[in-house]
Symmetry: D2
Subunit: 192 residues, 4 copies
């Protein structure tokens, strides 16, 4: 009997057309193991969180974001790092999907975090604060391997396809670990 | 000879009309020592950071935000906490004002951070990550006293005026410390 | 067929005879669900980490600590908080047990973290940095519920027995969650 | 009239005889600007913090540590990083010197933090948590420049003398900034 397919949803914490983190998500899809589907979300029209907007009813892009997180077996977050911290785009998506408080879309949800940025320390700080928020929300965040990629620009070709062999190898291992992590929490005793 | 006036600029990390953190800024202005002016910025129209938008030229609300940070003797940040982290509104304002990298508006800038939120731990996590980003940017962040106010709703009246006497006392001390901190870095040897 | 027993090992990040965190471990044992054994380690004679000492051969208390972490189905850490951070006792135990790098005792190990301290914010900061180190070490740290207990002194009787009913209830839920977390990672597909 | 001399006290968060961080302190002394004295403390005999030991009276090495922090115009901390966090040696010294709570040796004390470790991210995590504890203690921590040195072993000669020219240049700038930072807080209006 074959294993069930793993449905992942992914989003990148950057709105730039040429985002390296969105390119990382495409590479993640390309190098995912068999049996894994990755749906890449578009956060362009998700407004910045505002309690008054929420009270008037979720905007449609927010509704789609929440549904995607709810429905996924694992959420894959690719985040840049700005100023030793998390970009507004990444945190905004996490915060919207955490509403309303109970039950929310992150509760018991397997998550894997990765990131790339031009700086020297990659995204070690951004990933740390993302993990802390997700832990608070009772998401199950894959601890290792950690994909922290500094110096993003040399790893992709002109079409933003990941072409650096060692990074491809790390991505392949990361996606295998993410798929295994999602499987741990599937079905009875899985994400509730 | 009298001491020079201290020009502070403040912003709140919430867009809600009834924001307690904006109310905190108004209370900060009310209870500031003599000789301190506090200009409260409106972040409503600051778009979420996007490198493509920036490349096309700063939107006008961003230009105003940067000018306000540049021109202030001290920047006062009042931030809520979302999910053990910083709200997108707060981080977005910090990130926009950090661009372009050198020289940027935070370099050598005195800053004081405060916050209130309904949760049990006030804003201790949000303030921590805000401070880390500002430290990275070489801002001079007042270390203590820390204003972390949990359970915001009981402290304000129906017009969102701070009416809780112990909190007013803490605010008064905090603003005196912030003014003293700003004065340390004024003039020769001050913020460059 | 009955479920296998869960063997937990626990340590407290305080050496004081009257440690509230050690008292928390005893309360954890008392209020653990059926089928859970908790062995409480004594860190008194674990020396402060020193690479030269390690190179000469692990002192016996270190050998025992590592064996206990290796052999446990879940490690329970009860930590105080000092100065918004982790006490040396807690971090020292984590660091010794992380040596040598590969394979080390924390790799794939389920862990649950709790803590109590007299301060206003309980141990939210200490737990955060403990979790970050453990995540780096690929331990599987229970995300929620979080047991952060401020104002420790009122919760225990003169014999340091936990007597506060709401705290007992939270402890009971926490231990049930910890046992369930350990069970997730038992056996095939479990901690490797 | 000449400027007053700056008396710095420094300690390293490692007890190894061949510690790179202690070597960093010696390099800091060698490349300090004129007018700066740096006294390097030995933490070898500082016991791990224990409230019962403290209640019986500070051990002599603790008394010396506290006096050195109290008497310095600036404290220079060189810390390794263990497991994305602070080593016990570093945190233990900070915690002892923070006792008793008021007044304590860190209150209003200028501090500069640096660190080197073999890992890829240098000591960015260790420095972050050290800074957070010091901020809580109202120390005035130099925000930038940050000396984070990964891959320590290639930078020193067999006698552990810093010989890497770019690192020497960064150290020279760092010590000039630390001296300037100490001078800001000297005298009236200085550290209280």
């Amino acid at each position: 009997m074959s294993e069930p397919r793993i449905r992942m949803a992914g989003f990148a914490g950057s709105l730039r057309a040429g985002s390296f983190n969105r390119a990382m998500l495409r590479a993640a899809r390309e190098h995912a193991p068999d049996g894994v589907d990755l749906d890449i979300l578009d956060l362009t029209d998700v407004p910045i969180y505002n309690g008054d907007v929420e009270a008037a009813g979720d905007p449609e892009p927010v509704t789609r974001l929440k549904a995607a997180v709810h429905g996924a077996d694992l959420v894959l977050i690719a985040t840049p790092e700005y100023n030793f911290g998390v970009p507004a785009v990444t945190k905004n998506a996490i915060d919207w999907a955490s509403r309303p408080p109970r039950p929310h879309a992150w509760d018991g949800k397997p998550v894997a975090v990765m990131g790339t940025s031009p700086g020297r320390f990659g995204t070690v700080n951004a990933q740390r604060v993302v993990r802390q928020s997700l832990t608070h929300l009772n998401a199950y965040v894959l601890p290792q391997p950690m994909i922290v990629i500094p110096g993003a620009s040399g790893l992709f070709d002109d079409d933003l396809r990941l072409v650096d062999p060692p990074t491809i190898e790390r991505m392949t291992k990361f996606m295998a670990a993410a798929a295994g992590w999602a499987r741990r929490f599937l079905g009875p005793g899985g994400a509730e």
